[in-house]
């Protein structure tokens, strides 16, 4: 409960700070075109999912996560496509850094799953680096099986829990 609340507040805070950050929508040349163009459309709310420079856009439109097969850390073609999108976004929004969180499903012992999650997060990181993202912008952490997002004990849930999630940090405070 607390985490959900915290996350909600965080997103709200990010949205507010995006509105009030002059760098992002003023002096930041990289975003000017998109922001202005969107502004002319009148439909863009900065920081929301239809603002291409927002974390919400990254999470929803680009896709912040890639999924893995059982006990695997190889990237699937779908995963590579998602990471290509992430790389393009990160190459555009250069003031963001990211922590890539690796996760495992509950089938497995705790220590092994921590190490497996690290392999997955690292696979995503290496791929982003190969697409031109500076290694210094990308950190990894593994949660093993400690943070499932789906709670059933079947493949439908396991498939979503075997994931590497790119969590953005920074950017809006610069």
């Amino acid at each position: 409960m607390n985490r959900i609340l915290t996350a909600t507040l965080l997103i709200a805070a990010l949205a507010v700070s995006a509105c009030t950050n002059p760098d992002r929508f003023g002096a930041d040349g990289m975003n000017n075109g998109a922001a202005n163009g969107a502004g002319l459309n009148g439909g863009i709310i900065p920081g929301s999912a239809n603002d291409p420079a927002s974390t919400a856009y990254f999470q929803q439109a680009v896709g912040d996560r890639v999924l893995f097969l059982v006990d695997q850390s190889n990237l699937t073609p779908e995963g590579q496509a998602t990471l290509d999108g992430q790389a393009a976004w990160l190459n555009t929004n250069t003031d963001y850094q990211a922590v890539i969180e690796g996760h495992a499903d509950e089938q497995g012992t705790r220590e092994y799953n921590l190490a497996l999650g690290a392999r997955r997060a690292n696979a995503a990181r290496e791929y982003l680096i190969s697409r031109g993202i500076a290694a210094s912008r990308l950190r990894v952490v593994s949660y093993g099986k400690e943070r499932p997002i789906e709670v059933c004990s079947s493949e439908a849930c396991y498939a979503k829990n075997r994931r590497a999630v790119t969590v953005l940090a920074g950017g809006l405070t610069s």
């Binding site: 012992t109 220590e111 392999r119 499932p148």
Partner: protein, 440 residues
């Protein structure tokens, strides 16, 4: 007085505990293959020898009984069956009265309270031989620590009858869990082995994992996400003071255990997605790399003499168990059965390795010899994992997680024979238990 020598046959491997019920032979529990018949005993309420010890006298006998019955090797003859009463600790025993109700062992005790000091005396009688078994013993402690006095009596009884060390005067540190699977809160807790006297050692603001006792039982190692990344901490149980064991930026460290000397920590360190085993001098922070492969190498555990380390690796393509010298070097694979093997823990006797096995979608706690032979699975469920040994090497505690959206983890214990599987009482959910050495 003739000191009775109990003959004990300990077939530890493949052993199934049984009780020899020879009513005209010596009082003994023979641990061997065979039929299981718990040994019947009587433990009348202890004698209060000071005015305010009445309730304590009742409670002590109750906890002694709970310990012995809980071991699965003993059965209590209820007080309602008693023919004799014990009204004086030094009065002669009416053996015939205890024999008549088939109490093979009789435990008597006395207790006195003086200020905050508790004195407990006990005697153990072999009813069918009509003789005291060993000498009477006296323990002193604090009134608050009265349960420990009961555990010490029970350990002495257990030890005299089985010929093995006891395990009741011990503690367990574990992860106490609340909340649903997708928002689980975890904090460290320490309790007596039987679930009494729970004390919380951390709050649940960060994920904490896998606490492990030091050989002296006064400190624990554990993994916490306090910094945002998994790091190893050492915590003093008495003061609850903790410090992080430093590791390089961009790495994760976890799965720590103490060496038998208590001066070295063996653990896993992950760098760039690769997990290897390292040791660290706990005082200087100096670390040494023991494995160097692209495989996942984790869950290290020292042999009791400190010369070797058992660990898991997927270097063969799947999770298996290996033993290597404590300084690193060539590792020998010991698990060859069907399925995957993880979380090996060396027994305090040095003769067995306990492990978690996954096979065909089920999890098992098992034991095997050091060469991998005589593998024996003790449990089976949707998810059993993380065995820890009782100080006498006869009992294993582990965590069992139930299936599905409402799944929760709780602690269980089981004999190394696979008998006496039962839940361990905890206030909240529990995982990652670590059993302390016998307390001093």
């Amino acid at each position: 007085m003739i000191v009775r020598i109990l003959s004990l046959c300990l077939a530890l491997i493949g052993g199934v505990a049984s009780v020899a019920q020879a009513q005209d032979g010596p009082l003994r529990i023979e641990i061997t293959e065979g039929v299981i018949e718990p040994l019947p005993f009587a433990v009348p309420s202890f004698q209060p020898e000071s005015g305010d010890a009445g309730q304590m006298a009742v409670d002590l006998a109750r906890v002694v009984s709970e310990d012995l019955v809980g071991s699965g090797l003993f059965r209590e003859v209820p007080a309602s069956a008693y023919i004799s009463t014990v009204s004086d600790f030094n009065a002669p025993i009416q053996y015939a009265d205890w024999k008549a109700i088939n109490a093979q062992a009789l435990i008597t005790g006395a207790v006195s309270v003086s200020g905050n000091t508790l004195n407990v005396k006990f005697r153990l009688y072999d009813v069918f031989s009509g003789a005291e078994l060993g000498s009477g013993l006296q323990f002193s402690g604090t009134v608050d620590g009265w349960r420990r006095m009961a555990h010490k009596v029970a350990d002495a009884v257990y030890s005299r009858i089985t010929g093995e060390g006891g395990y009741f005067d011990s503690r367990v540190v574990y992860v106490s869990e609340t909340g649903p699977k997708d928002d689980r809160a975890k904090r460290l807790a320490v309790m007596d082995y039987d679930g009494a006297n729970v004390r919380y050692l951390t709050d649940s603001s960060s994920i904490v994992l896998a606490p492990r006792f030091s050989p002296s039982g006064d400190r624990i190692l554990y993994t916490s996400y306090e910094s945002g990344f998994p790091r190893i901490y050492v915590l003093d149980i008495g003061s609850v003071q903790r410090r992080v064991l430093e590791s390089a930026e961009g790495t994760m460290s976890f799965a720590p255990r103490f060496s038998p000397s208590g001066n070295t920590v063996v653990y896993s360190l992950t760098q760039g997605g690769n997990t290897d085993i390292y040791t660290m001098d706990i005082n200087t922070g100096q670390s040494t790399r023991l494995t160097n492969t692209p495989a996942i190498e984790t869950a290290p555990s020292y042999s009791p003499d400190g010369s070797r380390i058992v660990f898991e690796s997927d270097r063969s393509g799947s999770q298996q168990l290996y033993i290597m010298p404590a300084t690193g070097g060539e590792a020998t694979r010991i698990s060859f059965g069907e399925g995957r093997y993880g979380t090996p823990v060396w027994s305090p006797r040095g003769d067995l390795v306990a492990f978690t096995k996954q096979n065909k979608g089920r999890f098992h706690i098992g034991v095997m010899r050091l060469d991998g032979s005589e593998e024996r699975l003790l449990t089976a469920s949707f998810l059993d994992e993380g065995p820890t040994w009782a100080p006498n090497g006869r009992v294993i505690m582990f965590a069992r997680e139930t299936q599905g959206a409402g799944g929760a983890s709780s602690l269980y214990s089981v004999d190394i024979s696979g008998r006496n599987l039962k839940p361990v009482r905890t206030q909240e959910g529990g995982s990652d238990p670590s059993w302390s050495p016998l307390q001093k």
